[in-house]
Amino acid sequence: MENVQVFRIQVLAIVGSGLLIIFILELIRRKRLKEEFSILWLGMGVVFLVISLFRGLLDKFSYFVGIGYPPAALFLILIMGLMVILIHFSVAISELKEANKKLTQELGLLKKETEDR
């Protein structure tokens, strides 16, 4: 019974990570997602795929970093991954904002120039 449950969640995890990777690749193929933004998501998908394929890995990792309850290590990895992605987003938004400012200024100045002619 125990084994069946563990097997179930393992299959679910493998399918889930696989679907994430396929979904991201599909978005890139359809040009809905730029490669720059896909790499972190793909990386996370691969990490979860590896963890679900080799179950011992998570136990070893949690023992190594000193986490008593292995599933908690899973959350740690997940949250860290999401944090990295979110910071990446903040950087990207800041860059966009800067570009947006420059474009707006340039447009305003150009309009003035054409009006003055």
Binding site: K97, T104, Q105, L109, K112, D116
Partner: protein, 270 residues
């Protein structure tokens, strides 16, 4: 480009004379009084939804400062700010298609001033808080070469300006920080009533903070070796509209400015 004048036309000659006179700062010493008349000067007025105030500001500016060009930066206003400003024949208007915030708007003015070769830029807020009649006060130390930047301060001498108490605390805190970090007494860090010379225009046209730029700009300019002095001026309490600074925002203001100053100190080379 427009028509190119032939080299020997009288018009191009006179243009050439003015340009050479205004460009070399070294000659101020010899011909100070004469050249001050010829120096290209501009008043930059950032305005966001100021249709109620901009007319009065522009009337006063035209009256007090006929030797200045006047430029309104309409920062994506949704009201008739631009139309109102355009009724003044001598006033130039730059319409920004989206709202950038005060920093982005004022910087547009600096870029314009740099490109058009202005030697002096005076910034006046579009809300009527700054009196154009006070422009001469912040202008003269700049023209005399005493400073690269002149800030009009409400606090050096008691003026008619009434400030809310929590804002005053913030401003006092800035003053303390200025004294600690710059070793200088700058009493009105948040004042946007400022005069800039060519060097500082060039610096700020390339790098200017987005929001609540005034206190941060002081540190940036000092870091770049500019001399900044303060001059007492009188300011009005707001006539109409609403100040862009509420209580919650002023907390954000403080945090943002101190963070920016901290980072500016960390960022040694750029």
């Amino acid at each position: 480009m427009g028509k190119v004048l032939p080299e020997d036309s009288p018009l191009s000659f006179s243009v050439g004379v003015v340009v050479t006179l205004t460009i070399s700062p070294g000659r101020y010493i010899f011909l100070a009084g004469l050249i001050q008349e010829f120096v290209k000067k501009i008043i930059i007025i950032p305005a966001y939804n100021e249709e109620d105030n901009i007319g009065r500001v522009l009337t006063a500016a035209e009256e007090c400062c006929p030797d200045f060009d006047i430029l309104v930066i309409n920062d994506g206003s949704t009201d008739r700010t631009s139309e109102t400003a355009r009724k003044f024949g001598s006033v130039g208007v730059i319409d920004l298609p989206v709202n950038l915030g005060i920093g982005g708007a004022v910087q547009t003015g600096f870029i314009y001033s740099r490109k058009k070769g202005y030697e002096v830029a005076v910034q006046i807020d579009g809300d009527g808080q700054h009196k154009p009649s006070e422009v001469r006060k912040i202008l003269s130390p700049l023209l005399d070469g005493e400073a690269d930047v002149v800030i009009g301060s409400r606090f050096i001498k008691k003026g008619s300006y009434k400030s809310l108490s929590f804002r005053k605390i913030g401003i006092k805190l800035f003053e303390l920080t200025n004294r600690l970090l710059l070793g200088e007494r700058i009493t009105d860090s948040t004042s946007g009533f400022r005069a800039y010379n060519r060097k500082s225009i060039e610096l700020l046209s390339k790098d200017y903070p987005d929001d609540y730029p005034e206190p941060e700009a002081i540190y940036f300019l000092k870091k770049k070796g500019m001399t900044i002095i303060e001059v007492p001026v009188e300011m009005d309490t707001r006539h109409g509209g609403k100040s862009s600074i509420s209580l919650v925002r002023s907390v954000y203001y403080m945090v943002k400015v101190f963070l920016a100053i901290f980072v500016l100190i960390l960022r040694k080379h750029d």
